[in-house]
Amino acid sequence: MADKRIDDVPEIPEDQPETEGNGIDIPVPEEAPARGRGRRGRRRAEPSEADSGLLPESGAPAGTVYTLGPQNEFGDVEDVSFESSSEGADEPSAPKKGAALDISDIPNAVAAPDASKSSGKSRKRKKRRPAQPRNTAAASEKTSVPAAEDSEQYSVPAAQDAPAEEPASVPEELPADVNASENADKAPSGAPETSADAEVSAEVADAAPKAARSKRREKRRPTQADRPDSGDASSEAESSGASRDAVSSPVEESSTPAKKSKKKSRRPAAQAEDAAEDAAETTDIPSEASEKPPRAPKPKAPAASLLLSGILTENPLLFGLVGVFPAVAAASTGLTALAAGICVLAALIVTNLAASLIGDRLPRRLREALMLLLAACVSSGELLALEALLPETADALGIFVPLVAVCGLTLSRESFAAEHHPVSALIDAAACGAGFTAALTLFGVIREVIASRTLFGLDISVQGLPPVLVFAAPAGGLLLLGLLSGAARYVRTKRRASKRGSKEAEL
């Protein structure tokens, strides 16, 4: 469809990237800075009919806002809104207020005059800030904002590139559920999220972000409601038209330069012709969106439960039986156990943080291999540090230091970290590492006391109780670990049973 459109517009070369499109000289009218106040507003200013008569000036009566329903059946467009000036004489088929149109009738984009200039500006300022960390969106709210930003970015250049064309195509382009009078105030707020939603819903079928977005939308709407004058709404309308068009024409030029997103140009008012052009130009939006879906926000796990489970209830050594090797082979005394535990803790923190930051940017298997490599690098540093600080312990641990870092604990938490926020990953690493270190130290101390009657090197031998040497051997270590694990499970089941009993008693 893009090709067809582009053919219609001879002056714009085919396959012209959006950057060039934006580069097409856009005279900046005088009033542009005044209305747009800033880069966006300046860009928005367009010389053509838009300013002259087609679209209302800043003081013009409020444009009618049309909003596409919250979501169409494709899940692509959630909230497409746009406006059309009520007195759009040049727009023959300008939508009528309250008219509900079927989206199936809509071949192309929609142009719309503007609304809410100043309020839109402030809102966009808000949005622009998080646009930078788009890929590393932390919370769901954050991600929803950059997504909205994306939609604006995508739609804008197209609107700019579009010389006036196909003015008559406006009316059919009205989306379904268009209720102008009802949604007039909501439109500008909802519009920017359209293509974002399209991207998100197409790529990430995640309920949480959607909920967050809808919340945000609801928050924004009241702020926009009171100022329905020309302004960003036009751009919003463009974006909406573009996204809607994207809906109708799913995939076109798949190779869209990413630079496009950097260009933000706004026109004071979007004409129907422009909108149609926008459609032609921005048909690639969905494809680009599919290439770069906004990353789903990584959930944060509650820190308290992480700490509790890592240290106590799901202790990796006692319950998960992760790290049998360091326990049995390396932790023969309290000091070596402590050193080995700290080695694991350090490696775990580093790898968990890295895994959370990398996330799904790498294939899982490659990421795991990378994490192991990272753990091994950390273990090399640990080995050198141990040799410098505690040479005797380093000798006792020997080759186990590198292996301790590469032991199963590193990978066991990696998948959790990759799916969670870095802060949660750090807390989890600290909790698991601390729990592991504590359990390992306890294990080492018990083993040391039984096997050699010393405690961290201090002699605590008792008359008549000879040391049991077998506990210094791996066999004794395995036996002790099995007994400790069984005891820990016993305590846990007892505690749970008592909790359950108390709850039942309360009931």
Binding site: L321, V322, V324, F325, A327, V328, A329, R365, L366, E368, A369, L372, L373, A375, A376, C377, S379, S380, L383, L384, E387, I399, P402, L403, A405, V406, C407, G408, L411, V470, A473, P474, A475, G476, G477, L478, L479, L481, G482, L483, S485, G486, A487, R489, Y490, T493
Partner: protein
């Protein structure tokens, strides 16, 4: 290398210094050995991996790391070698024979990027001065691992019919069983040639 040396190394690594029972390497994977065929498959792969990784890592250690005093960097280098040995054939297999390569995806945990494989490579590169000794040692370590796997999995299968206390079911019982087998293997410590 004389025959007696070879015998010393091989018997030592298979019996008296069994990497599983005297160093607890790779014990974790055996503790939940449920399915014999799968266990055998994993053991075979790990055994091959032990031999390959040790042999690939030895020249790197001998000619790159040791001459420059970089013994501390053994771990990352060995991880790199094992990763290459594991991932590259996997990718090649996936491309060449997707149906066969798909089998490798089942094995979620890395087999070569494993404590067993890395531990064997690290241990052997320390104790084996020559490549021949290392080759014998690697094969012996792999055999010892396979032996431990067979014994442990068969014992663990029997423990499924036992009725231990509830809190000892599963991993604690497996650990205690492994401890008893390790104690038995400790009896080979008196073996000298």
């Amino acid at each position: 290398m004389s025959f007696s040396q070879m015998l010393t190394i091989s018997l030592g690594l298979i019996l008296s210094e069994n990497i599983v029972f005297s160093r607890a390497l790779g014990l974790r994977a055996m503790l939940d050995a449920e399915y014999p065929r799968r266990t055998a498959w994993l053991t075979l792969r790990a055994a091959v991996g032990i031999v390959l990784t040790a042999m690939a890592a030895w020249p790197v250690d001998r000619f790159l790391l040791s001459p420059f005093g970089l013994e501390a960097a053994r771990a990352p280098v060995y991880v790199l070698i094992a990763g290459i040995l594991e991932l590259v054939p996997e990718l090649v297999l996936k491309k060449a024979a997707p149906s066969f390569g798909a089998r490798f995806r089942e094995d979620r945990p890395f087999l070569l990027l494993n404590v067993v494989v890395l531990g064997c490579a690290l241990t052997l590169s320390e104790i084996c001065p020559s490549f021949a000794e290392l080759a014998v040692g690697a094969v012996s370590a792999a055999l010892g691992y396979a032996l431990a796997s067979v014994i442990l999995s068969s014992v663990l299968r029997r423990t499924r019919f036992a009725e231990p206390p509830a809190c000892f079911e599963g991993a604690p019982l497996a650990l205690v069983s492994a401890a008893l087998i390790a104690l038995a293997f400790a009896g080979f410590h008196g073996l000298h040639f």
